[in-house]
């Protein structure tokens, strides 16, 4: 069973729009939530991350909104660009070990 769930396998937006990628989890032991970006033929790379003590983390056009009570989070990509087209993985790391779990990924396409 997937410990981290991403609600959409794919998402298409137009250039300039805000893309919203959703993620949820069940395990209360998770305390750190990174998002990874993967381009074809490459390994995933860390994009942005949030700790469970925060409800928002912003880095340029990328923002994570986190709801600890509901056990969900979302990644907002403002002013989406065609170069943002990639697969985005939500991940979660438990406080008591070093083994992050990943969601199934959302493939984002940004149309010019």
């Amino acid at each position: 069973q997937q410990q981290v769930r991403q609600s959409s396998q794919s998402l298409t937006v137009w250039e300039g729009e805000t893309a919203i990628l959703n993620c949820s989890y069940e395990n209360s032991a998770f305390d750190y939530f990174p998002w990874y970006q993967q381009f074809p033929g490459e390994g995933p790379a860390l994009l942005i991350a949030i700790r469970s003590v925060s409800d928002k983390k912003e880095d340029g056009r990328f923002t994570i909104f986190f709801n600890k009570r509901e056990k969900n989070l979302s990644l907002h990509i403002k002013d989406s660009q065609p170069g943002d087209s990639a697969t985005y993985f939500c991940a979660a790391r438990p406080y008591n070990n070093n083994a992050p779990r990943f969601g199934a990924g959302t493939k984002l396409s940004v149309k010019p």
Partner: protein
């Protein structure tokens, strides 16, 4: 900076064959991981290792063995390849906190 090198990039095997995938890192990280990436299922943790000669099972360890004989290398063995093994295997390393995983570009396994 450092790099994760996975060899081979492409591996073709026969059903029932024992196959070994290799991973090297020069970050001097303590923790290393093997994940399997299947389309639509995201990244699933097979094994990880928090130090030389340590092995920890992930969520998908059945059918695999791993070996961490040196801090810089972590190998994965598919003990008996099955046709449904066709996937990309990703190796990663991280500092102790596991807040950022650094991934290699993967080994694509095809079983005939």
């Amino acid at each position: 900076g450092g790099i994760i090198t996975q060899t081979p990039k492409f591996l073709i095997g026969q059903e029932g064959q024992k196959l070994t995938l290799k991973c090297q890192q020069n970050f001097n990280h303590d923790t290393m991981y093997w994940y399997r990436q299947d389309s639509g299922k995201g990244l699933r943790l097979i094994y990880y290792s928090i130090t030389e000669n340590d092995l920890q099972k992930g969520d998908l360890s059945e059918g695999y063995d791993a070996s961490r004989e040196k801090k810089s290398s972590f190998s994965l063995t598919v003990t008996s390849a099955q046709k449904n093994e066709m996937a990309v295997f990703l190796c990663a390393s991280s500092p102790d906190s596991a807040e950022t995983l650094y991934f290699g570009s993967g080994t694509r396994l095809t079983v005939l």
